[in-house]
């Protein structure tokens, strides 16, 4: 039984499911963030308040943190195992054709993790009372952060890397879950491309608009 629960295929299955759950979360987060574009702070702040206090969301939040933790832990564990599968490498770089960004998932994922830590420090820690700030006015916290050019640039770089991660992530998850064949592969690839562009661009547009107007 252990052999089945912890086989390479099962671990990938868990990673794919966790990843897909995170893919569902991103558009929700984006939807709220787009309220930052309004000059009135009220809609954004009340949405943030709702997300922080509504009991059902609290349950989902625990599930979300658990999912992030599982996705990262499994990702790192599988990567180490994969590195160990080739203890002696090639002298000439492997030129085999691969899917775009598929070889760099650990690095793009790692960058997203670094951003996540910064993001927690900037927002979630305020809610926990670990960092100074008004948890009821995330609107002004966000506006202040985005008006720092260095932060906005870092934000864009992180979302570019997230886009790279998402493009392979979505199609790879379907393949891992066994939900791909000759017919559906191009369709899934197209959906991955649309998702991987739309979501990061949606996030990245916010500091741009704040800068321009």
């Amino acid at each position: 039984m252990n052999k089945i629960l912890f086989s390479a295929v099962s671990k990938k299955f868990v990673m794919a499911l966790a990843g897909l759950f995170l893919l569902l979360f991103l558009p929700v987060h984006l939807g709220i963030n787009l309220m930052l574009l309004k000059s009135d702070p009220e809609p954004f702040n009340s949405a943030a308040h709702f997300m922080a206090t509504f009991p059902l969301i609290k349950v989902v939040e625990v599930l979300l943190f658990l999912t992030i933790l599982i996705h990262i832990t499994y990702g790192i564990f599988l990567q180490i195992q994969n590195w160990l599968s080739r203890p002696v490498g090639y002298k000439v770089r492997n030129k085999s054709e691969t899917g775009a960004f598929s070889r760099f998932m650990i690095w793009t994922g790692g960058s997203v993790l670094i951003f996540l830590v910064i993001h927690f420090f900037n927002f979630y820690f305020i809610k926990l009372g670990l960092v100074e700030g008004d948890p009821e006015n995330f609107y002004s916290v966000a506006w202040q952060l985005f008006s720092i050019p260095g932060y906005a640039i870092l934000y864009w770089i992180c979302f570019l890397l997230l886009g790279f991660h998402l493009y392979h992530a979505l199609q790879s998850a379907f393949q891992t879950l066994g939900l791909s064949n000759e017919f559906w592969k191009p369709v899934i690839r197209a959906i991955s491309l649309i998702y991987a562009i739309a979501v990061p661009v949606g996030f990245a547009i916010i500091p741009l608009v704040i800068w321009l107007f």
Binding site: K3, I4, S7, A8, V9, S10, K11, K12, F13, L78, Q81, N82, L84, S85, R86, P87, V88, G89, Y90, K91, V92, R93, N94, K95, S96, E97, T98, G99, S102, R103, M105, H168, Q171, S172, F174, Q175, T176, L177, G178, L179, S180, N181, E182, K185
Partner: protein
């Protein structure tokens, strides 16, 4: 054609290997890569030097023994060919060719370019068969098979177990090989009765042998000399979940 060859030389599995450089003259463009290496060895033997050890057998792309990593490509830069069918006309006069053995933990180097690929055999032995009583062959048309399935089963059954998928994969994963072996049975009625035990046993053996997991990069598909398709891995995953 004149070539400069940088070839991995290693006495045995325990020895430390190194690259040796050879200059080879008189290579004809119509020679196969394996014939070119045979010419090199003939020259080396005549000079009283030790020849390069490499695997080869059928010279028609069906035995899977001639695998080597050529200039960064398993089986060389041309798609859909084994090393023995790779023609020297794909290389330029005066070119430097670097030849390395397959690199993977489950494929220890035996000598020079020869690796021990019996890890793949062990996966096959674990479940890649159907248990039928021996006897007279039944009437072929007694068991109807959908044409689509029989075509797909055949496409996956052409896998020669050369290990190029493992060599190409950044994770040294054998998933394409295992998925081809699983598919050739899973798609046919004769393979269904033992489908669950088969996939469980073959995946367990694959893990035991130390192959990596699948990152769906597609490197295996692009380097497979028999052009086994990546969606076989999706089928393998499906079969595995069904067997849980």
């Amino acid at each position: 054609m004149k070539l400069k060859l940088k070839i991995w030389k290693q006495k045995n599995a325990a020895a430390k290997g190194r690259f040796e450089t050879y200059d080879l003259d008189g290579v004809a463009p119509e020679m196969s890569f394996v014939e070119m290496l045979a010419l090199l060895n003939q020259t080396l033997i005549q000079q009283g030097r030790e020849p390069v050890a490499f695997d080869h057998d059928c010279h028609e792309g069906i035995c899977g023994s001639c695998g080597m990593y050529i200039n960064g490509y398993p089986h060389g830069p041309v798609k859909g060919l084994t090393t023995c069918l790779l023609s020297m006309r794909h290389f330029k006069d005066g070119e430097t060719i670097v030849i390395e053995p397959w690199r993977a933990k489950p494929f220890p180097v035996v000598k020079d370019l020869i690796v021990d690929r019996s890890a793949l055999d062990k996966i096959q032995v674990a479940g890649g068969f159907i248990s039928v009583s021996a006897g007279a062959a039944p009437e072929a048309n007694a068991l109807p098979v959908r044409k689509h399935n029989s075509d797909l089963a055949f496409d996956s059954a052409v896998c020669i177990g050369c290990g190029a998928c493992v060599a190409a994969c950044k994770n040294a994963s054998a998933m394409l090989f295992v998925s081809a072996k699983i598919s050739q049975y899973a798609l046919l009625p004769q393979g269904r009765p033992e489908a669950k035990e088969r996939v469980r046993a073959m995946i367990a053996e694959m893990d035991k042998q130390g192959f990596g997991s699948c990152s769906n990069t597609g490197a295996c598909e692009s380097q497979c000399p028999k052009q086994i398709k990546l969606f076989n891995i999706a089928r393998l995953n499906r079969e595995y979940y069904k067997a849980l």
